[in-house]
């Protein structure tokens, strides 16, 4: 009688032990190995047809020209992230305060644009904001001065905010929805004014959602190349554009070197951010 559960315990642990094996193999082959290749290409160069060790391409990143591109990318991505946060936080809060049925409908509406192809949406924005675009021809008709942002940095920021705003709203909302509202009431009863309730109770409790929202907006913003190509102009080149250009110019070593440095900087950034969030469940998307 006693031997049966024991036996099953051994067999059970076998299944449990190997269930993750295909995934681990997959991750090693297709997540870890490719990154090693990025490092390999970043630290080498092709000279007369043979591959030699070289840090020339890595050095390129730290020349004034590329540092300028990089700081522009960081700047625009930061601005977009802040705007997304300022726009997204209140709406996440408002939605979480509505009736459950309304909540679901609103969240569905926020997510709906994400299901549309982002290239065609970005293209559609360019049709809206061009100098001869829909908004400007409308403004022209009713005699209001037109806005000329197409081809400028403002247009790139607009594109980033538009494309990634849902990525900010959803994680914040998912934390807010779980927030125990009695805490807010208690704070109110204990004499906090609404501003204090916001800063002392609601904001700290929603921090994990805010942080994953920030990462989910910042990372794609800093590495985008389509948005700047489509909405930007001659002086809005971003680091993603340069990587794509060097890939297209068959300069794999440079593309790898730029990707490698970008990745290392982002990983350090993320590690720092994660240090300040102990909540490992996070507010990951939905």
């Amino acid at each position: 009688m006693t031997s049966v559960p024991k036996k099953s315990k051994v067999r059970r642990s076998l299944l449990q032990r190997y269930a993750a094996a295909p995934h681990i193999a997959w991750a090693i082959l297709f997540i870890i190995a490719p990154l090693i290749f990025v490092a390999y290409y970043a630290f080498t160069d092709t000279v007369d047809g043979s591959v030699v060790f070289s840090i020339e391409n890595l050095k390129t990143f730290f020349t004034p020209t590329y540092l300028k591109i990089f700081s522009r990318s960081v700047g625009l991505a930061l601005i977009s992230t802040v705007i997304c946060l300022l726009l997204g936080y209140p709406i996440a809060y408002f939605i979480s305060r509505t009736k459950p049925k309304t909540q679901r409908l609103l969240i569905l509406l926020i997510m709906l644009p994400m299901w549309m192809n982002f290239i065609i949406r970005t293209y559609s924005i360019s049709e809206l904001i061009k100098d001869t675009g829909i908004i400007n021809s409308f403004l022209g008709k009713i005699g209001i001065p037109q806005m000329h942002i197409y081809g400028k940095e403002g247009a790139v920021v607009l594109g980033m905010v538009y494309d990634y705003l849902p990525y900010m709203i959803l994680p914040i909302y998912s934390v807010m929805a779980k927030l125990d509202y009695r805490l807010v009431e208690a704070a109110g009863d204990l004499g906090c004014n609404s501003f204090k309730v916001m800063t002392k109770v609601i904001f700290p409790l929603s921090r994990s959602g805010v942080i994953s929202g920030i990462t989910m907006v910042f990372v794609p913003s800093i590495s985008t190349f389509y948005i700047s190509q489509k909405l930007g102009g001659p002086s809005t080149l971003l680091i993603g554009d340069v990587i794509e250009q060097s890939y297209n110019a068959s300069n794999y070593h440079l593309a790898a070197a730029l990707s490698f440095v970008l990745m290392v900087i982002l990983l350090i950034g993320l590690a720092v951010v994660n240090k300040y969030t102990d909540d490992d469940s996070g507010g990951m998307l939905i």
């Binding site: 059970r12 997540i31 293209y123 061009k130 990587i243 068959s250 790898a256 998307l285």
Partner: protein, 678 residues
């Protein structure tokens, strides 16, 4: 406050949906513009269902999304199960970290890193085609896996630990306990994960961009290459249909959930009533009376998981069918695929009732040669694009159409095969001496000319004064600041500065290139945008006033210009002449058929149809001499394309681009990056 929040939510929703509304409205445009609404029509929906390339891309996207979602759901669910039961903390943590990498890393890096791996392994295995459907499938599974795991893992954590143990105690095998007890409990997570994997795959552009081969183009990639050109409302029509399908699906699931929730609430109410009844009966000592205990809630939750099982099963079966078909199609090569790589908008493709070159060739092969041939037609947007694809050794093409200087480069680097002119009898009949023995192919071994032409300046005469035109100076004229567009391509952009100053465009004197950079930097504040084929749209709508492009493209723009735009064209004193020619790269898998294709392109009917469609000058003698062609094009167009008293050979040698030596190419690249940043 309440009102304010409602207004705010409404404003954000308007912001999120404005571009989508634009897209839906313009899909019903009777005109071909995506910014000027002419009237209501279903014309573009009809065009959509005739557009084989788009429907094929949609099919490919669905195949890829279903297969990758199914596979990643299976691997990911098993992985979540395994990770949940991992005893060693370090192991669990490192597996989770590795899993999260594709989510945390920018897509562009994930894409590039996978491309490196595929090309490297492909080279090791000696594969001719290194990027294909399979590499895309691997890439899509890789970035979908984290979403599945992150959705399933919490469900394992929430599950009552005693449940699987109870199942085992009651005599289930571990597998049985997994399928009968645990799986139903985690199913909602599996379902959400699968849906996310599906939508991520369907929408992914960046990673696909780096890992896709030639013979499998998905919708986002096709849309990307289309938005580089003139976008037709056909894409809008397709997007509108997709939008409506998704909206309906989401509303249905939402309604189902709402009704479930209602039942759940009912169950809770009943439970409460039950409890209070128990409490009451305990207090009073009377036997408790409960009207009715509903069991519907239990049934519902069970029913839902049954539904999910069904959906997941259907998806898995579909995926198995699709992959079997694919494997089958790989092994039974009954149709021969001919991969053709050409510039965008550079062949008569059957749009709006025109001659469909590739379909005609397929028909020709079927009727005359008794072969089942499928032409797989892909486009590039610059010679450098083409070179990147070829030199990555990742893809294989049978016919390519590069420009002169790129032909010289490809030939010298051993990327081109010598043609067998016995298989191209039309060559002798149609290509005159003018187009033979040009510098890029002095012995006529590698190429058959397809088009030629000159670069000129295009301007909107309704806003640009006639007095300012005539030379390259127009593109540096401060009067038109913010209205000028320049090439988004180093060679052509630098070319304008060289021709403006009558410098030799092929010089290896770096100081001249530096001077050209200074010219471009001086021009930069005046520029609106760097463009390639986007110039069509910008000039046609009046978004830009001045730009330089190819004469043939000017004629196309003329046909599509907006009512308030009056496009004019001239050749400045010095300008670029080019020849684009058909070649067969060394990676070609079907040389004879490729030669057959080139020969077909040279047949009179095809050559005339193409020359009329793309509006470039044709080196084909029978095209220029054809009365129909002269009549269809009209005198004005002919005089632009074929200027009188024009010695092509002489002009060409003086003004064409030649292949620069490697160190000059590198120097040019550095200058270009400098131009783009400063």
């Amino acid at each position: 406050m309440k009102k304010l929040s409602k207004v705010y939510i409404a404003l954000i929703l308007i912001f999120l949906f404005a571009p989508i509304a634009v897209l839906i409205v313009f899909s019903f445009n009777s005109g071909s513009s995506t910014s000027v609404f002419k009237g209501f029509s279903l014309h573009w929906y009809a065009e959509l269902f005739k557009n084989a390339a788009m429907l094929n891309a949609l099919k490919n996207s669905l195949i890829l999304a279903i297969s990758s979602a199914a596979i990643s759901t299976v691997i990911g669910t098993a992985a979540a199960f395994g990770i949940h039961h991992m005893k060693k903390k370090w192991l669990r943590r490192s597996v989770m970290t590795a899993t999260n990498i594709p989510m945390m890393n920018p897509d562009i890096i994930t894409g590039i890193s996978l491309m490196f791996l595929f090309v490297f392994v492909g080279t090791l295995l000696g594969l001719q085609t290194k990027l294909s459907f399979w590499t895309m499938l691997i890439a899509h599974i890789t970035f979908s896996l984290p979403y599945v795991i992150l959705n399933v893992l919490p469900k394992f954590r929430q599950m009552d630990k005693s449940l699987p143990e109870a199942a085992l105690d009651l005599g289930c095998t571990p597998l049985q306990s997994f399928f009968k007890v645990q799986l139903p409990a985690i199913l909602p997570g599996v379902f959400t994960g699968m849906i996310m994997a599906f939508t991520m795959s369907l929408d992914d552009f960046v990673i696909s961009y780096f890992t896709s081969g030639v013979d499998f183009q998905t919708l986002p990639i096709l849309i990307y290459s289309m938005t580089k050109k003139d976008v037709k409302p056909t894409i809008y029509a397709l997007s509108t249909i997709i939008f409506i399908v998704i909206l309906v699906l989401l509303l249905i699931t939402n309604r189902e959930r709402t009704s479930e929730e209602r039942l759940e609430a009912k169950r809770l109410r009943e439970e409460k009533r039950l409890r209070s009844a128990i409490a009451k009966s305990q207090k009073t000592g009377k036997p408790m009376r409960v009207k009715r205990v509903s069991e519907s809630s239990i049934e519902v939750s069970h029913g839902r998981s049954m539904n999910l099982t069904k959906i997941i099963a259907v998806v898995c079966i579909l995926a198995i069918i699709i992959s079997t078909c694919l494997v089958f199609s790989v092994f039974s090569k009954r149709t021969i695929t001919l991969n053709v790589y050409n510039w965008g908008e550079y062949i008569s493709d059957g749009a709006e009732g025109s001659y469909d070159t590739n379909a005609e060739f397929e028909k020709y092969c079927r009727d005359e040669l008794g072969m089942n041939v499928k032409v797989n037609y892909n486009t590039f947007s610059s010679n450098e694009d083409l070179y990147a694809k070829l030199s990555s050794n990742a893809v294989s093409y049978d016919v390519i159409i590069p420009s002169d200087y790129m032909i010289a480069r490809l030939a010298s680097e051993g990327y081109l095969q010598e043609l067998d002119f016995n298989n191209i009898p039309n060559y002798e009949k149609s290509i005159t001496d003018d187009f033979r023995g040009l510098y890029y192919d002095p012995e006529n071994k590698y190429s058959v000319p397809y088009t030629y032409g000159m670069i000129g300046v295009i301007y909107d005469a309704s806003r640009v004064s006639e007095d300012d035109t005539g030379s390259w100076d127009l593109m540096w004229n401060e009067k038109y600041s913010g209205q000028i567009v320049q090439y988004n391509n180093s060679r052509d952009a630098f070319g304008t500065a060289f021709y403006k100053n009558s410098w030799d465009v092929n010089t290896t004197d770096k100081s001249v290139w530096d001077k050209a950079l200074a010219e471009l930097q001086q021009q930069k504040p005046l520029l609106k945008k760097l463009v390639m084929d986007e110039i069509y749209n910008m000039m046609e709508t009046g978004e830009a006033m001045i730009g330089s492009y190819y004469a043939g493209d000017y004629l196309t723009m003329l046909d599509n210009q907006a009512d308030n735009v009056d496009l004019q064209f001239y050749y400045p004193e010095n300008t670029n002449l080019f020849v684009d020619a058909m070649c067969i790269p060394t990676c070609a898998q079907n040389k004879t058929l490729a030669e057959e294709y080139i020969n077909f392109m040279l047949s009179d009917d095809t050559a005339i149809a193409n020359a009329e469609y793309i509006c470039y000058a044709s080196p084909h003698a029978n095209v220029y001499n054809s009365e129909i062609y002269q009549e269809d094009m009209g005198e004005d167009a002919i005089s632009i394309l074929y200027p009188e008293d024009f010695d092509f050979h002489e002009k060409y040698d003086a003004n064409c681009y030649k292949d620069l030596p490697p160190e000059m190419k590198e120097y040019l690249n550095a200058l270009w990056i400098k131009f783009a940043t400063e």
